[in-house]
Amino acid sequence: MSRSDFAALLPLLIISTTAVILMIAIAIQRNHKTAAVIALGGVGAGLGSLFFAAPVLPRQVTGLFILDSYSFLYMAILLCAAALVLPFAYDYLKHRHEYREEFYVLALLATTGAMVLAASRNFASFFLGLELLSVALYALIAYVRSESISIEAGIKYLVLAASSSSILLFGLALIYSASGSMELSQFTAAMTHTASHGDSVFLVTGLMLVLVGIGFKLAFVPFHLWTPDVYEGAPLPVTAFIATVSKGGVFALFLRWFQVNSDNRAGAAGIVLSILAVASMLTGNLLALRQNNVKRILAYSSIAHMGYLLVALLAGGALGASAATYYLMAYVVTILGAFGVMTVLSGPGWEAASLDAYRGLFWRKPLVAAVFTTMLLSLAGIPLTAGFLGKFYVLTAGAAESRWVLLFTLIVSTTIGLFYYLRIVVVMYARPADPGTMSEANTLPLPLPATIGLAALTGLVFLLGVYPSLFWNAIVAATRNLG
């Protein structure tokens, strides 16, 4: 292993090492603040090391990793997301009677898993990254053990994720058995196939099973059933984590190895993916239509957003990957902001998940409400926010490749989606129904770390929405050699 290999792996190493250090630190002395600072420091160092390691790119380390600008870009996104989740988690845990420190260990491990996914090029690293992410998430979801819904969510996630993993593994085994190679590039190769005969049946079957596994993680319809329950049951920071880091990591891999281009559009996978995209967009938005739990709404909306991402991916071409990446970036920032607001509004022992908790928010906390509105509008894709440009890029990518059916579905479902985002907004701007009920939240001052985080996210949402060139060039550079 050369120095540059080491340098290239540095981000991964730093994060995992931080996890270990943190565990040792916990063993020595339990301190919430210290733990949080260590974790944040580790993530910060990881981010820094990205720049440090950038000159050695692109680099293939052993057979497992490919470290290039693309994986680094995604690592950066993941690390940023993690860095932003942590302050919210800190505030959140501060109000909980619970051992808090392990949270950071698990979060760091999960982040590592996601980063591994972003960089992997082999079945083994794919699988290990995925499982690292999943296993850490099992515990994170049920982290607040006093909540029965958390446990329930944990169990559901565990059982389903393990099942989907085994399906995925079976698929991997099939592909391996058909091709004799454990390279992830087999996916790309397999996508050109239709199940005609011979090995290609193995390949296609395997690919479909892999798609089930990935689809489960990204919550494509019909593998989405877990999403709302887990989102609802998991503690808010964990929900945010699932929505951003977990999905981001899996998507990074998905995007890289499931590149759709003119060669493989006719393949079975392309068609299946198109169907999944349409189903996800419609189902997600429909399901969110009349929910009364904001977490569930965001869960369902995440299904739809994954559908949009799939559209970008299916558009393929030079634009598709860039558009998908940009969209993901926008989505991560936005959804973090949304969950951040929810975290900020949650009090000790309860979460601001019910729609009623937001009634008249604007008249109590105008700034928080404005931030939340911004996030919701960004999710809905209203101009000047990140979400709009994301959607714009997706549409452009789709139009460039003439994926009209997908685009049309996207538009229709976006409109449906608008309805429930607006519902939340309406509730926020409505007159407070009963001023007495919300007095607890009224008195709660805004915690500093979360405030900083929210400010940063709001800034990012607007920056992404108004001046995309800043990021777009980097994204294009990173994704150029993919498509």
Binding site: F123, A124, F127, L128, E131, V135, Y138, A139, A142, R145, S148, I149, I151, E152, A153, G154, I155, K156, L158, V159, A162, S163, S165, S166, I167, L169, F170, L172, A173, L174, Y176, S177, G180, M182, P228, D229, E232, G233, Q291, R296
Partner: protein, 85 residues
């Protein structure tokens, strides 16, 4: 397949976990078989990783079993349907 069927059928959480194990094992078997086909050790390596993952999985899974048993005094997975809709 059987594991999956079991997963769908059994309501006892322990059985559910067992079924998951069966499925994982089957995947492992598939990997080893594939590795054997190409005469590569990679399949077995994969199996090892699967093994490790299964262990971790079971550890957390059983922790859940205990936790769940403690809160619900039963192992009925269908009882864990507080959240729906």
């Amino acid at each position: 397949m059987l594991g999956l069927a079991g997963l769908l059928t059994r309501r006892n959480l322990i059985f559910t976990l067992m079924c998951v194990e069966i499925m994982l094992n089957a995947s492992g078997l598939a990997f080893v078989a594939a590795g054997a086909r190409w005469a590569q050790p990679d399949g077995q390596v994969m199996f090892l990783f699967i093994l490790a993952m299964a262990a971790a999985e079971v550890a957390i899974g059983l922790a859940f079993v205990l936790l769940f048993h403690r809160t619900q005094l039963a192992l009925d997975v269908d009882a864990a349907s507080e959240m729906r809709g």
